[in-house]
């Protein structure tokens, strides 16, 4: 018998190593469930969940929705582009109106960092952060670490390099927290303009040369260049970025050691990762997607089961 230390999943920063391990153990069971002929359990049949996506998403949203359906929860979906947010309603008003319809849990993606933390102070429902601006994306970090654990047996002591646009990436920050809590060594690698100042203070190594980073690591988590968040130019051209920081199969094969390549998606093929690398045997990108459903099932199951 065990439960999470928190009522919400706002970020990896707020949860403990024990919480992460409990989520992983529960996800193991759900992974077995989603590979059955009947992939559904009735656990959350009296729980209603609202998916509030104030920012675009394909994978995360589908993954959450499938996870909720596999748990038999009732769900309502909301996307900002087709809602009254356009008419000027505030976030709290929108959410309170949804909660008035008796919703127990909120899964939210928002462009503003801290938006789910703000909501958590004002409403009673459990909140799962599905990405808040450039801040955190906890379920992605959990499924990344879960995939490493699945492939390598454990996360402890493993060397993980996060490569690409670290500055604008919520995945990078959540990954750093999760991997460090689980005892991995973390390196960030990218052009200096895309590395946040003082990131060393988080206890990560910084490397500017992608080949050196690949030589050092057991796992390369490659991130997308988030052009939509870049208001100024951080590098001369995508072509130049790709030349200096793009990863292809030739580089991976030349390492002469086992290496795992991950990517949270969506991939810009030919920019940060070439097609032959993304589809190579090194890549576990599709395993990440499968594990995403099991991990999100575990998170929502554990949050719903927590008695206050």
């Amino acid at each position: 018998m065990s439960q999470l230390s928190q009522r919400h999943l706002l970020g990896i920063k707020d949860i403990t190593k024990k919480d992460i391990e409990l989520i992983f153990e529960t996800a193991d069971n759900f992974k077995e469930v989603i590979n059955r002929p009947i992939k559904k359990v009735p656990s959350l049949r009296d729980v209603t969940i609202a998916n509030l996506f104030f920012e675009n998403s394909t994978r995360t949203r589908l993954s959450f929705e499938l996870a909720q359906k596999r748990l038999s929860a009732d769900i309502v979906n909301f996307s900002a582009s087709t809602s009254s947010v356009k008419k000027g309603e505030t976030l709290l008003d929108t959410v309170n109106n949804i909660l008035a319809m008796k919703v127990d849990m909120i899964v939210m993606r928002h462009a503003s960092p801290g938006a789910p933390h703000y909501l958590a102070k004002h409403i009673k429902a459990n909140i799962v952060n599905a990405g808040d601006g450039t801040h955190e994306h906890p379920t992605q970090a959990l499924l990344d670490a879960y995939s490493i654990r699945e492939k390598l047996g454990s996360v402890e002591g493993k060397k993980v390099a996060i490569i690409g646009d670290i500055l604008h990436s919520r995945v990078a920050l959540s990954n750093i927290f999760a991997l460090q809590k689980l005892g991995a060594k973390v390196m960030v690698c990218g052009p200096p303009t895309l590395l946040p100042k003082h990131i060393q203070q988080l206890g990560v190594q910084v490397e500017l040369n992608v080949e050196k980073a690949l030589h050092w690591c057991d796992v390369a988590n490659v991130l997308r260049i988030q052009l939509e968040r870049q208001q100024i130019k951080y590098f001369p051209s995508l072509r130049e970025y790709s030349l200096y920081y793009g990863i292809n199969k030739k580089m991976l094969d030349a390492l002469k050691k086992p290496i795992i390549v991950m990517h949270p998606g969506p991939i810009n093929r030919g920019v940060e990762l070439s097609s032959d690398a993304a589809d190579s045997a090194h890549s576990i990108i599709l395993d990440q997607v499968e594990n995403g459903v099991a991990v999100r099932m575990a998170v929502m199951y554990l949050l719903a089961g927590k008695v206050n």
């Binding site: 002929p37 009296d46 089961g305 008695v307």
Partner: protein, 185 residues
């Protein structure tokens, strides 16, 4: 102090030798109904029914000199007390590496109390197919404590208990010295 001792009173229901006799009898009864187990499979219920299932399985394979399918079924996600308990129950591994469609399934658990775990297990089992027939084997039947209309087909020992009592099953496989079953007041 006296009250404390009385509250902790333990009574041995089955010791190791008696348990062995009971298990042999249960195996005989299973063979009587399932003959050579050609179309029968065994499913131990997590977390504690698997020890009993494993013991019975070993005995049966030895006496019939053939392989019998044994799986573990976890009903945690099908429980009806989720979000109603003090602490959530932790899930365990489900391992059903065979097809149960059209088979005779023997569900095996150590103690039958309210019947709610068995109800959840029936629900969980259906996700793997539609068995021809399902039977329930329990080691201890606390027969006056049922919340649901569930009755076992094979019983190791029936005991009369009240709600506040507890049946404690100690298995060697869990690290205990001997297999023993206690009634705790």
């Amino acid at each position: 102090m006296l009250i404390f001792e009385a509250a902790m009173q333990k009574k041995l229901i089955l010791d190791s030798d008696q348990l062995d006799i009971t298990l042999s009898r249960l195996c005989q009864q299973l063979v009587e109904n399932h003959l050579d187990f050609a179309n029968s499979v065994m499913l131990g219920l997590q977390p504690r029914g698997i020890y009993l299932a494993t013991l019975l399985h070993q005995k049966l394979e030895k006496s019939l000199k053939k392989k019998i399918d044994l799986g573990y079924l976890d009903a945690t996600f099908h429980r009806d007390d989720f979000r109603r308990r003090e602490l959530p129950v932790k899930a365990n591994e489900t391992k059903v590496p065979f097809i149960i469609e059209g088979k005779n399934v023997i569900l095996i658990d150590d103690v039958l109390f309210t019947g709610r775990t068995v109800r959840a297990a029936l629900d969980a089992m259906i996700a793997f197919g539609r068995p021809a027939k399902v039977e329930l084997l329990v080691l201890i039947d606390r027969k006056f404590n049922r919340d649901l209309p569930i009755a076992p087909d094979y019983v190791g020992k029936s005991v009369n208990t009240v709600d506040t009592q507890k049946v404690q099953v100690e298995w060697q496989a869990q690290g205990n010295k001997q297999n023993k079953i206690w009634l705790i007041n």
